[in-house]
Amino acid sequence: MKLRTASETISFVKALEEQSAKFYEDISQKYAKDEDLWLALAKENRRFADQIQRAYYSVITDAIEGCFAFDLESEKHTIETEIPEKASYSDAVYKALSMEEKIIGFYHTAADQSMALMADVPRNFKMVAKKRSNRIDKLKALS
């Protein structure tokens, strides 16, 4: 499905962050390792969603192109968060890594598309992408 408007893109972001937060909570319950880290990541995901939503609600006006700012294919950016029954801890960590890379890619694409049109929203996309990039090394160290 195409995402063109700011409203549906922000809803997509919220769903993405919530889904990935739940994924981290699932890992923390399923494996008795690094629980604090997984729960911290889940909490941070929800903060990212709040941060982006706040930026959107603060900047949205009729002077910017809210209905025409994006041209995203949602299918390209959906994430897989199901942890198979027999998956090992390192499988789960690998899945987390792939998910993070996919989400980072989404934020970069969304930011590039809307940079000239949506003012503060793409700036926040970039900030979140950067913070998520910092997670990659941490996750790699676990695997």
């Binding site: 499905m1 195409k2 995402l3 063109r4 408007t5 700011a6 409203s7 549906e8 809803s11 609600y57 603060s58 900047v59 949205i60 006006t61 009729d62 002077a63 910017i64 192109e65 809210g66 209905c67 025409f68 700012a69 000239a116 049109l117």
Partner: protein, 497 residues
């Protein structure tokens, strides 16, 4: 995407808010219709002259105490109101979409713009400060105070039912005046919800009143001897021929912000991708129903290659605009407000064609409305080429999702067209050349100039600056000019023997 939940349920009756009480109008009621579904979502009373008199009396009675309330205290009421507006942001936005038809992104933008005016008015202790000159002659000092005037009337339009009364109301009450708002009878629910929040914020009874209705209420306000000033946003014929002269005749201050036929000038060096997105919002946002909307596209230069590339991109994007219910987050354009407005837009398109324009994109019979809603109020994006500056589609305000395209050889010719148009509200240039942008900004006589910006909507701390044909009065709404409008300058010269 799912359709967001509708906040208005059942068919409530919208009441007047007079002297802190919610009172049902004694006049007949009419339906408030959602233009997407064509269903009646509320009923509103058409108030009588007696009811406007009641509201003005309440405002007049409340004025002396409110005037004496310190500015810092008045600001605290506004701070509380601002908090409540933020808490109710989403509901307020969805109400606008439901009663007007605009998309949810557009409604949220409107809510944000409205709140920003309350935020600016919260600074009234500073904004209202006077001036002092010590020793204008030895031992004699002079100072200026800004003092409120009394009861103001605020007449709102249908196209921004929440925001536009807030271009005036927060400044009026912040400066110590009391107000009577008449919302559009077509979209009265936003102002009713706002008044609920005003009540919750604890404003004293009579300071903020809302009277619903039609012409009789407007006439009652214009002629009322106890109303000292009016702000009006609406059509040029009404502003110029009714509101402005009637206020003059009865000694009222007036801000009459009126119609437009705005020009979007595209230079051959413009960034096509960014320009097209901006033009979509400008011409087709809010279904073209705003006084800042682009109505005319002027493409500069004789390069057919650039013209074709630009027009192909515009046409392809406009053709792909998703129309439907604004509460569906994927929708990019809603309907116009009612079938009569649609008919008027169609008549303008017909007139353009009769005058020699040609259709590049025909939106007169939209068939692709998402959700299968009736096309009663929908007009698709319509692009007319071969338009000339003398056609009615240029010289009159269409107020719909239409784009009339003109080609000119150079920037001078484009500026001439801008300046010879009867309206002077908001014109914009799209270019990557600073010198051309500066020339445009300097030479075009209109109140709001855009440079690579298609909707030149001033922030709340700047005046909403229309000029002749689009504006009647001296001071404008918003920011410091609004503070000046709602206050009188009082001078005191003193010496001590």
């Amino acid at each position: 995407m799912a359709i967001l939940e509708e906040p208005i349920k059942g068919v409530p009756t919208i009441k007047n808010y007079i002297d802190g009480d919610w009172v049902e109008s004694k006049g007949e009621t009419i339906g408030v219709v959602n233009p997407v579904t064509c269903e009646t979502i509320a009923k509103v009373g058409i108030s009588t002259k007696e009811e406007i008199d009641d509201a003005v009396k309440a405002a007049k009675d409340a004025y002396p105490d409110w005037k004496r309330t310190p500015a810092v205290t008045r600001a605290r009421y506004l701070h509380r109101l601002r908090e409540l507006l933020e808490e109710n942001f989403e509901e307020l936005s969805r109400i606008q979409t439901q009663e007007h038809g605009k998309t949810i992104d557009e409604s949220r933008g409107e809510t944000r713009r409205g709140i920003e005016n309350v935020e600016v008015a919260c600074g009234i202790p500073t904004l209202m400060m006077g001036e002092t000159s010590e020793d204008i002659a030895s031992g004699i000092d002079e100072y200026l105070m800004r003092v409120p005037l009394g009861v103001f009337g605020i007449i709102g339009p249908f196209n921004f039912p929440f925001m536009i009364p807030l271009w005036s109301a927060p400044y009026a009450v912040a400066t110590g005046n009391t107000i009577v708002i008449k919302p559009s009878e077509q979209c009265p629910i936003s102002q009713s919800k706002l008044a609920e929040l005003v009540e919750e914020a604890g404003f004293p009874p009579g300071v903020w009143n809302v009277v619903n209705g039609e012409k009789e209420v407007v006439n009652g306000m214009l002629d009322h001897p106890d109303i000292v000033g009016i702000t009006f946003v609406g059509s040029t014929p009404t502003g110029r021929d009714v509101v402005y002269p009637r206020c003059g005749a009865t000694g009222k201050r007036v801000i009459a912000q009126c119609g437009a036929s705005n020009m979007m000038v595209v230079m051959p060096d413009a960034n096509i991708k960014g320009t097209v997105a901006a033009l979509m919002t400008s011409f087709f946002g809010n279904a073209g129903q705003r006084c800042l909307a682009g109505q005319n596209l002027i493409v500069v230069g004789e390069d057919d290659g650039f013209y074709n590339e630009l027009m192909d991109a515009i046409t392809a994007t406009a053709k792909g605009i998703i129309m439907g219910n604004g509460l569906d987050e994927s929708v990019q354009m809603g309907p116009v407000k009612d079938p009569q407005k649609k008919e008027k837009i169609l008549a303008y398109i017909e007139s353009g064609l009769n005058d020699g324009a040609t259709l590049r994109l025909d939106g007169r019979k939209p068939t692709d409305i998402v959700g299968g809603y009736p096309d009663t109020c929908f007009v698709g994006p319509t692009i007319m080429e071969n338009v000339t500056p003398d056609m009615r589609v240029v010289t009159e305000e269409i107020f719909g999702p239409t784009m009339g395209v003109m080609r000119v050889k150079d920037l001078d010719e484009a500026i001439k067209i801008c300046n010879e148009n009867p309206y002077h509200n908001a014109d914009a240039i799209f270019t990557s050349n600073g010198k051309d942008a500066r020339k445009f900004q300097y030479e075009v006589n209109c109140g709001n100039i855009g440079i690579n910006v298609g909707i030149v909507a001033p922030m709340a701390f700047y005046p909403f600056s229309g000029m002749s044909g689009s504006f009647y009065g001296i001071l404008h709404t918003q920011g410091k000019e609004a503070v000046r409008f709602f206050t009188e300058s009082k001078i005191c010269i003193h010496r001590w023997f």
